[in-house]
């Protein structure tokens, strides 16, 4: 187990360097100049030079990268934004809970929908339920979240006045200047984003669960269980479910890790001040420190969730349990 963890940590460090070096290289290759953006249109060359020096952009790229790594290791700091000079750590600290609210909330919904629907579809292939759910799966996979979000806002928020149109409220009260806060307002504002975000995943997971359950039901050990005289429900609960959920756990772990890096479209549509919103703004402004910060954070998320999956897998599947 210790060896496994050590291997994992080395792998994480390696991935961190790969991801950040690639970010810096891309930034270096594309013909963008944040100093010019910051100095403004029509700034004189001296102005731009001053800004460039201020932002350390006059240093060679490896020096900039070295400074980034040093600041991270020595001060635990991801630096400051080129655009508004806010601390990137602070920004990510502000954004991450928003994205987490969206992703985990939606995950609860998509799992609690897709698992039962997937199982029922698998139990009755070609039934009406199966056909209806497969049609919704197709729609869910095809529909773009921006479209879904706008349609929901328009009908549910604007026409029916059932939910807010967009916006975010903190779960924990006490933020200065917050217009709304607390769990109730939080959930109330998150309803549409959750639905928007979960549509695609619900569709994907219904299909995933259905396929896995069907595959597991044709396993020899399920036939063995039936031959023992086990009832249908016992067969499903004790023999099919756990085995068919194993691949779902893996994919869920990967999806959650990735999604925490930013649910760009949903956050944009509903003005959720999360990581996806942040990285798009940063990208538009060539804001390298923020881009790198979000990438570092999502790399950590992906690695962490993969680790969690691996550990959880050990409990779920005795075959790969590290002894």
């Amino acid at each position: 187990m210790t060896q496994f963890l050590i291997r994992r940590i080395f792998w994480a460090i390696f991935l961190f360097f790969v991801a950040t070096i690639i970010t810096y290289l891309i930034f270096w290759v594309i013909p963008a100049d944040p100093a010019k953006l910051a100095a403004g249109r029509g700034a004189t060359m001296q102005d731009v030079a001053r800004v460039r020096h201020f932002l350390h952009l006059d240093e060679p790229i490896w020096e900039q990268y070295g400074r980034f790594v040093w600041n991270l290791i020595r001060h635990g700091s991801l630096g400051r934004s080129f655009v508004n000079r806010q601390s990137v750590d602070y920004t990510i600290g502000q954004d991450a809970p928003v994205t987490a609210s969206l992703v985990f909330g939606a995950a609860v919904f998509w799992l609690s929908l897709s698992i039962p629907i997937g199982i029922l579809s698998a139990l009755r292939p070609r039934s009406v339920l199966d056909r209806v759910s497969m049609t919704f799966v197709l729609i869910g996979i095809s529909a773009h979240p921006v479209w879904i979000g706008l349609i929901l806002s328009y009908f549910v928020g604007y026409r029916l006045h059932l939910t807010p149109i967009s916006g975010y409220c903190n779960f924990f009260p006490g933020t200065a200047g917050a217009q709304c806060e607390g769990p109730v307002q939080w959930a109330y504002h998150m309803i549409l984003p959750w639905i928007t975000f979960m549509v695609l995943f619900t569709a994907l997971y219904v299909r995933l669960v259905r396929a896995n359950v069907m595959e597991t039901m044709s396993e020899d050990y399920v036939r063995t269980a039936r031959a023992k005289g086990a009832s249908q429900s016992r067969v499903m609960v004790q023999h099919v479910l756990r085995n068919s959920m194993l691949p779902v756990v893996t994919i869920l772990g990967m999806d959650l890790g990735l999604a925490l890096g930013g649910a760009i479209f949903t956050e944009g549509i509903f003005n959720l001040p999360g990581l996806g919103h942040e990285i798009i703004n940063a990208y538009n402004n060539d804001d390298l420190p923020v881009i790198t910060g979000v990438i570092v954070f999502s790399t950590i998320c992906v690695i962490t969730f993969n680790l969690i999956v691996d550990i959880a897998y050990g409990f779920l599947d005795p075959r790969i349990r590290p002894s």
Partner: protein, 553 residues
């Protein structure tokens, strides 16, 4: 994205005439007159969205975009300021914190202001001359690293500013503050100096306000409002300054800015009353569905900006080093078609650089303003069209830009040009066209907005060939003509009516004789307000209503 990215030194060449006019009208009268009066307008929370953007800074020492400034206008107490009035009256300065316009020494280098007694910051501290000294020093201090890109414009104006900026002095020696008396010593006479002071950089700030490279999110201010809280990317909340005793309106109890809203969602919020206004405007496609703008009781507001939109032609290389080809393009472009693609009430067709409101503006129609004139284009361009190399049309790769570029390319082909389509991402776009020796021939997304209401800001700033530098050029045409440079210098030295007349002629000369760009429309700002919003006063300078005057009470 309405950034005012340039605030060049020249931007504040408010004609001396304007200054004189302001003094003549009598600052005192405009200052004491209460715009929109009536206590009934007071109260409530004004909820403002800003689509796709947030203020970059709210610290007046760092902020320099129009959206920042339109907000800072409500919190800043300026030495001299613009009143909350629509149209031309809104550009007449009056002394706000100062008792009157300054006394100027005979050599024109010393300006002395006397502050009104009893002015207070939102924290109760009194406003003294030191508050303005601090504002200048926060702007130029090397400890602020600010305001990026504008230091050059001020370091040489005031005595000792240069030394201060370079860290060689603790204070700017040319600014002295004693009680309520503030004195500026200039390096040389500068008739526009007073106008500088109306910029939001120079609002009163408590002398104890620290220097900080990353800017303050809240600070005490002496205007009608103060920033009570701000979370970047989430919200900025203004509250009425309890110590403000001046005459400027402070109608809403509270003003809340919510940034980064999706533009379509934002309109829905305003329609449903969840928000009062998107200060970034409405989605262009919605304009046709919102009824008649500015009608009585209409929630749809359209106001002209000072922004002229043009396509730039690269005059530094073939084919557009040939002036007749540039004129041919001006005939070939279908201006109404371009405007239609931008949605209803997007603006007004134009084929010249100056815009209404700028002294010297006189509408004249040189080119095909009501549609493409292919025959004329062909006859003006002549045989050179056929032998011209393919026109490299560069445009950003957004859907809107691409659509408009397609129409332009169609127009060019109609006139007989060969065309190469060159879509690029927004970041690369400006990099490309602003660099000397660039390969583009026609750039789609050009435009200029007034930094100040003076023709200099358009003609000289955009077309003075002597300002062309290696990169970061604003003269996208790389237009460089010695005779025109001389004419511009001559116009710039004039004042009053003569100045206006000279610039009017220059505007015509530029388009008739040189045609380095294809101006095609003056854009409007389009807004939609919630039902409860009253007292709409639009400022074409900010391209926004005055937030402190809006009423939701």
């Amino acid at each position: 994205m309405r950034r005012k990215q340039l605030l060049s030194l020249f931007m504040l060449v408010v004609g001396v005439a304007l200054l004189v006019a302001a003094m003549a009208v009598g600052g005192a009268s405009s200052a004491t007159k209460k715009p929109g009066s009536a206590e009934a307008l007071k109260g409530g929370t004004l909820k403002l969205n800003e689509n796709s953007e947030d203020f970059d800074y709210v610290d007046p020492g760092l902020a320099y975009r129009t959206d920042d400034w339109s907000m800072l206008y409500t919190v800043n107490l300026m030495l001299v300021n613009f009143p909350e009035k629509a149209g031309a009256a809104g550009s007449q300065l009056y002394p706000e914190a100062a008792t009157s316009f300054p006394t100027v020494s005979k050599d024109g280098k010393t300006y002395t202001f006397h502050l009104r007694p009893g002015l207070k910051f939102s924290n109760g501290q009194p406003v003294t001359a030191a508050a303005y000294q601090r504002a200048w020093e926060r702007n130029l201090s090397p400890k602020m690293g600010s305001p990026l890109g504008v230091n050059d414009q001020f370091q040489n104006v005031i005595v000792g500013a240069d030394a201060f900026l370079n860290g060689k002095a603790q204070h700017i020696s040319g600014i002295s503050a004693k009680g309520l008396t503030l004195t500026f010593h200039l390096t040389k006479p500068n008739p526009t100096f007073v106008s500088y002071l109306s910029m939001q950089w120079f609002g009163a700030i408590p002398p104890s306000t620290p220097y900080t490279t990353h800017g303050l999110n809240t600070f005490a201010s002496a205007g009608p409002y103060y920033i009570a809280s701000r979370t970047p990317g989430r919200s900025t909340v203004l509250k009425r300054n309890p110590y403000y005793k001046g005459s400027r309106p402070a109608n809403p109890d509270e003003i809340v800015f919510t940034p980064n809203v999706d533009v379509d969602q934002s309109l829905l919020q305003v329609k449903s009353g969840q928000s009062d206004l998107d200060i970034g405007g409405i989605p262009p496609t919605a304009a046709a569905t919102l009824g008649t703008p500015n009608a009585a009781g209409s929630q749809f507001k359209v106001g002209p900006t000072s922004c002229i939109n043009y396509m730039a032609m690269n005059t530094a290389k073939a084919p557009f080093n040939n002036v007749s080809l540039r004129k041919a393009v001006n005939w070939a472009i279908d201006r109404p078609a371009q405007l239609r693609l931008l949605g209803k009430y997007a603006g007004k067709r134009s084929d010249q650089i100056l815009v209404p409101g700028i002294p010297g503006y006189k509408p004249f129609n040189i080119y095909a303003i009501s549609g493409a004139d292919v025959a004329k284009a062909k006859s003006v361009g002549g045989s050179a069209i056929a032998s011209a190399p393919s026109v490299n049309v560069i445009h950003t790769n957004t859907a809107s830009s691409t659509n408009r570029a397609q129409v332009v390319e169609f127009n060019l082909k109609q006139a007989g040009f060969k065309v190469t389509d060159n879509p690029v991402p927004g970041t690369t776009y400006y990099q490309n066209i602003q660099t000397k020796g660039t390969s583009y021939d026609l750039a789609m997304n050009g435009g200029w907005c007034a930094d100040y209401f003076d023709p200099f800001d358009y003609i000289n700033v955009l077309f003075d060939g002597r300002t062309i530098q290696q990169t970061n050029n604003v003269d996208w045409s790389f237009f460089n003509n010695a005779k025109f440079d001389k004419d511009m210098d001559a116009a710039a030295s004039k004042s009053g009516a003569a100045r206006a007349a000279a610039y009017g002629k220059l505007d015509q000369e530029l388009m008739a004789d040189y045609a380095p760009v294809v101006p095609y429309f003056i854009s409007n700002d389009r807004f939609y307000v919630s039902k409860r919003v009253k007292n709409w006063i639009y400022s074409s300078y900010f391209g926004e209503p005055y937030y402190n005057a809006l009423s939701v009470g």
